[in-house]
Amino acid sequence: MEISFDLNGKKTKVDVPVRTTLSDCIRHHCLQTGTHVGCEHGVCGACTVIVDGEAMRSCLMLAAQADGSKVVTVEGLCAPDGGLSALQASFRKHHALQCGFCTPGFLTTAHALLTQEPHASKERIREVLSGNLCRCTGYINIIEAVYQARAAYQGKGG
């Protein structure tokens, strides 16, 4: 089945078996492997991508359901010059990652959240990020990193 969508600003066309999830399509057909698969049943959040501005679990979507959409993955979050975005830099500064496997899902989720709610409280951040699992960090640093990155989102139109 042919599917067309915008992937990180690039027009993308793939021909994939119908049962292909969006996560497998992105990883193995578009070869953007930054998005990770941790459970394939919609609990761990490692596969989170942003579809038309909203964070979604890409393992719980068929690639077909992204036809015509704008999809942003962790690769698309970098600064225009390829460097770290403010959010990514905040993760580094606050040591919000260890093995890095869950990290792309946290970044996309946090980016979607702060884009829509740049004044999100720590409680709100924690509430939203409770849908992403991490086994290494214990979360404290991740919450702090996202909270401290808010300033970068507050300048924009929201």
């Binding site: 993955t73 580094r92 990652l97 093995c99 792309p104 086994r135 290494c136 214990g138």
Partner: protein
């Protein structure tokens, strides 16, 4: 350590992060090799049975299927008996009958045991075909717990005649003969749980027929050991196998050991002459990656009326699952040897028996055989303290091993013999630090009180954490043509920030900026020999190997330049940025690079280091629901020497949260017929960001280790160790008015609620008894 670069001891941002934050990490499933095929493992749904036949006809005909191999297919190629999973750690003859064949041939002994491997063009096609493999298995009665195991009425290994592998005894003084004015005996149990890292296991095996070489991506933890086992099983020279460690999504002891798939996937690749990839799915990971922790124990404490401990004696029974695998001996051994923890108990005897059952086989999981005895012992201590009317803090303070008593021997172990000693440290110092930072005196006012419908409880526990297992670690440093340095180490990364920490050490020793150094680790291609990452050893062993190698490189530089200039080595001055000056003028790093200078080094050590600390928790219990909520958790560790305070702090917090999951949430549950119940993330509950927001950790450099040049003691595992004891003691303290003594984990709401109900109805009965 002659370091003046200032990287060691600084919270340097991690070198790994740039890749990992931008989606440029490279985990094994990210690797695509032209023409690669995909494997699916067919697993037994029967916990104990005889395999009558495995019908693969329908599966073979499915679209995209290239091959299906059963146990009998593979056994035929191996003269009747398939290769076994090696017992890597402390193998003894008693374990041989319990070794696991890499694929089931005549019997299955746990739900999840591999019975066939399917290889197809896509993972979906492999799974479709796997669903159609028909296994005709005649069910046998199950051995569902250690009690049944020890009866030896139903046998997992009929020809052997027993389900019991071995009993380890940790011994000190004369515990059986010890007496005292106070004693108490209790039974405790810890549930089955394990690492459940975010990236499941996986490997990509690439057999290249022309060269006769096998490359395996996805190695971790102990790649050199795995390579050795694989070479033996495939009848290949070790040098013809490359184990490549790529980015690793957490290990915690479970990833990187040799499993069935570590043979089956390379076997398939060689047979099909194509690369074959296998990625474990989450259900498999929960079912079939090493399990851990489950054991019962009966423990007795004997002490003076003033709380001074006299003896600790007990028997533990480990529910080890169906086979002895690579690291299955460690937890039982550690329980036996470390039941006394950091406390001075003159007489100790702990007998720990490994019992096989029809469940997933066990291995090491962070703090193996240390989480369990800390739970048993610390619970025991709080009960004894309460009976004797002694403050639980003072009970611990008076019994902790004191600095002047170190090195302090721990109980000796057998099968094989092992002696060890607590190296050095001021255990009372971390106890006092914890009391102060946790604000114990202030929180104590709430102890046992019911406030706004919630009971409050606080507790603390003192822990030790053994690290730095020998025998050694290796490293090599090359100066490249452009003057940059490549450091190779035998240590493996499991996501712990290894590259950063070791780079800091190299940078400081050689006085170069960190970005001049590229650090490669884990893969067998870099070094001839490596020993890996486990027992919290990478910083100490890998770090000292790098330290020694860097020092050796400096010597080599001086000697080589001296030869070039025709002068003495001590006339050559080596300064920052590898700038050399002396009688012959001066040279820069790039010129040194063109001289093809490199050094090999290693660090050998058999002494374990012991970091130590104290943890405290403040919980509330909702009697209406049984929910335990964590208001505050504080842990302090003396790590001896801290290379990167940021990464070691991250390790401490992550380790604590894992422990809290074990104390309150996680359970690899089976039903009474040994069917596995926890195969989804809705059933196996990992801590989320909302569960334990109040965890605080402090890692100090108080007293350096004397046994290694870094003075470091490790620090990756300690946080998890005391959590079971601390949380359960806090719950007991909260519910002390109801006289509730939790003795099993996890402390789920239904369990706590049931304890409360039982206590309340007991109280209702009691008054009637009194008046009767």
């Amino acid at each position: 350590m002659g370091a003046s670069g200032g990287f060691v001891g600084t919270a340097v941002e991690r070198v790994e992060d740039l890749r990992l934050l931008t989606g440029k990490g490279r985990y094994v499933d990210d690797i695509h090799i032209e023409g690669m095929l995909h494997a699916a493992i067919v697993r037994s749904a029967v916990p104990h049975g005889r395999i009558k036949a495995v019908d693969t006809e329908e599966a073979r005909r499915m679209p995209g299927v290239r091959a299906v191999f059963t146990g009998r297919d593979i056994a035929r190629e191996y003269g009747g008996a398939v290769p076994t999973v090696p017992i890597r750690l402390y193998p003894i003859p008693q374990m041989e009958p319990f070794a696991q064949g890499v694929i089931a041939v005549d019997k299955v002994r746990y739900v999840g045991e591999p019975i066939a491997i399917v290889v197809a063009d896509t993972p979906g096609q492999a799974e479709d075909a796997a669903d159609l493999v028909q296994a005709d298995i005649e069910s046998l009665p199950v051995v569902a717990d250690w009690q049944t195991s020890m009866k030896n009425e139903v046998l997992l290994f009929e020809s052997h005649g027993s389900n019991v592998v071995v009993t380890y005894t940790g011994r000190k003084g004369d515990a059986p003969g010890a007496t005292g004015p106070y004693s108490r005996k209790e039974k405790f149990s810890v549930q089955r749980h394990s690492a459940v890292m975010l990236e499941t296991r996986g490997l990509l095996a690439h057999w290249q027929e022309e060269s006769g070489r096998l490359t395996v991506y996805g190695a971790a933890k102990v790649p050199f050991s795995t390579r050795k086992a694989l070479a033996a099983h495939l009848d290949l020279a070790i040098e013809s196998i490359d184990m490549i460690e790529v980015d690793v999504g957490g290990g915690f002891g479970v990833r990187g050991e040799f499993y069935s798939e570590d043979f089956l996937v390379p076997f398939a690749s060689r047979r099909l002459k194509r690369p074959v990839k296998w990625i474990e799915d989450r259900r498999e990971n929960l079912m079939a990656s090493n399990h851990a922790r489950q054991m019962d124990c009966e423990l007795e404490v004997v002490c003076e009326r003033n709380g001074r401990l006299i003896a600790l004696r007990g028997k533990g029974y480990v529910d080890a699952g169906a086979y002895m695998r690579t690291s299955g001996a460690i937890s039982p051994r550690n329980v036996a040897q470390f039941i006394a923890g950091g406390y001075n108990i003159p007489h100790v005897q702990m007998e720990v028996t490994i019992c096989t059952t029809n469940k997933g086989p066990i291995g090491t999981y962070r703090g193996p055989g240390r989480f369990e005895p800390d739970f048993f012992r610390e619970r025991m201590f709080d009960m004894a303290a309460r009976d004797l009317g002694i403050d639980p803090v003072e009970f611990r303070r008076m019994n902790l091993v004191r600095q002047e008593q170190m090195p302090f021997p721990v109980p000796s172990l057998d099968n094989p013999a092992k002696v060890d000693e607590l190296d050095n440290g001021d255990y009372q110092f971390t106890l006092d630090t914890c009391l102060r930072e946790f604000r114990w005196e202030e929180k104590r006012k709430l102890q046992g009180k019911l406030v706004d419908g919630r009971y409050h409880g606080i507790a603390l526990g003192c822990f030790i954490q053994g690290a730095a297992a020998g025998p050694k670690e290796t490293a090599r440093i090359d100066i490249e043509d452009d003057g940059r340095l490549t450091v190779y180490v035998g240590s493996a990364s499991v996501g712990q920030g290894l590259a950063t920490v070791l780079t800091q050490i190299a940078a400081d020793t050689l006085e170069v900026p960190m970005d001049r150094i590229r650090l490669l680790h884990g893969s067998t291609t870099h070094l001839k020999e490596g020993f890996g990452s486990f027992h919290d050893r990478a910083t100490v062993m890998g770090g000292c190997a790098v330290l020694n190698t860097a020092a050796a490189l400096k010597t080599k530089i001086r000697e080589a330049v001296a030869a070039k200039w025709g002068c003495e080595a001590d006339q050559v001055r080596l300064g920052r940025d590898l700038a050399v000056s002396g009688p012959g003028g001066s040279l820069g790093a790039a010129e040194l690079g063109k001289m093809k200078l490199r050094a090999d080094g290693e660090y050998a050590n058999h002494k374990h280091t012991y970091s130590y600390g104290t943890a405290a928790a403040h919980v509330t219990v909702d009697p209406g629901t049984g929910r335990v909520a964590l208001l505050d958790y504080f842990t302090v560790t003396d790590a001896g020497r801290i290379i990167n305070p940021m990464t070691i702090h991250g390790q401490a917090v992550g380790s604590v949260v894992q422990g809290l999951g074990g104390a309150l949430l996680e359970n690899l549950a089976y039903d009474g017929d040994c069917h596995f119940l926890a195969g989804t993330f809705a059933d196996y509950l990992l801590p989320s960001a909302a569960d334990f927001p109040g965890v605080r950790a402090m890692v100090l450099e108080h007293i350096p280790s004397l046994s290694n040049p870094l003075g470091a003691k490790g620090g990756g595992e300690g946080g998890i160790i005391p959590t079971g004891g601390v949380i359960s003691n806090a719950v007991a303290a909260a519910l002390s008015s109801l006289k509730i003594e939790p003795k099993s984990l996890p402390l789920t709401p239904p369990k706590v609620w049931a304890l409360i109900q039982a206590a309340r109805s007991a109280r209702q009965d009691a008054p009637q008894k009194e008046t009767a």
